[in-house]
Symmetry: C2
Subunit: 213 residues, 2 copies
């Protein structure tokens, strides 16, 4: 199995980093292939800009959607985008691990989605290539989340509401939109409050979860 | 009325830019005060990093939440964050205008939210200062969105689903979480398909909407 592990935490001493290392260890042990996109480590540029395209087709105005459709045909994406697209093409499963910032991915990961899941590459509404016909069909996607809030806050009658409903703009409108099958999100709550013992326990649980993939 | 207009489109020839200019014109004509945060123009840094803090309280690990709580007390935020926080403090209403990327804000705007709506500044769960007691209580927030998809796709029985439900992670879990009152989102669909005439018509409609605020 080919795993692309997209990771967004700046600190190698973090609990998040320990989780990622644990997952990669499991994959290596069973001889799965892993490629990492450690976004902070890569100093990944999250901002979609005109410079993303080697040559612009429409110069009077900047329309990312139209430029992306053109760049797919002309191999016209900037090198950093192309490199990530190659990883996506190679992968059977995409794992996105991040601390939840405002019930969403950190900006650096949002930018990875904005720039890599380009029109014509991941989906193409002009040709009806969305959802069941999305261009990443056959791949799986998984969110691995550490949240500061507690589980009650993110329950259906909690203050925020049901986290799985709240995340549908990613799981459904982004991942399923591109044709990917979405695995149930793996969520750890109150991550800031974990004692050392609880942290060790959570790492064990995560290792067993990764083994089950 | 003091308006903070947070804008995320890189092209001054865009329809989005024309909308913003129209809104600012209305505000100026009626002698409201406007401050702009034109994020691409400012080359705003969207990535929350340890460098956001002049001095770190917890050096063994990087926990943004704890550093933010500390930075509020010590005036320890980097200058670019402090400048935006000053604008937020000044504003009666925050308008976020952007093209919808994957049913969400572009990464550059997600980063503005991640970095500016800091713990201890916009909300403080440790003190129960969330939702009705959120620290931005008394202010209003408004999303102004241009979408590529059509209205049917974002209707309750459409392929994506009800856009207002999908955006609750922003309108509820982010804006209402900080205590702000959220105005109904202003959404233009199929923006890429607008003819010149339809574009002119939409700008007129937007101007009338802004007049109604």
């Amino acid at each position: 199995m080919n795993i692309l592990y997209i990771f967004a935490h700046p600190d190698r001493n973090s609990f998040n980093f320990a989780m990622k290392e644990r997952a990669v260890k499991v994959f290596n042990e069973r001889q799965d292939s892993v490629q990492n996109s450690d976004l902070y480590e890569m100093d990944f540029n999250p901002i979609l800009r005109p410079e993303d395209f080697k040559q612009r087709k429409y110069k009077q105005f900047f329309n990312p959607f139209l430029e992306q459709l053109n760049a797919v045909k002309t191999n016209g994406f900037s090198e950093d985008i192309r490199a990530e697209m190659n990883k996506v093409n190679w992968a059977d499963i995409l794992i996105f691990q991040f601390p939840l910032y405002f019930t969403s991915v950190p900006a650096i990961m949002k930018g990875w989605i904005d720039r890599i899941f380009a029109a014509g590459f991941a989906f193409n509404p002009v040709k009806g290539e969305v959802y069941e016909k999305g261009l990443l069909k056959g791949k799986k996607a998984l969110l691995v989340i550490t949240a500061g809030a507690d589980k009650k806050m993110y329950s259906p009658d909690g203050l925020h509401g049901d986290i799985n409903e709240l995340l549908r703009y990613i799981t459904h409108c982004t991942f399923e939109f591109t044709g990917m099958e979405v695995l149930p999100s793996y969520i750890i709550y109150e991550t800031n409050q974990l004692s050392e013992e609880e942290g060790i326990d959570e790492l064990e649980k995560y290792e067993r979860f990764i083994e089950s993939l």
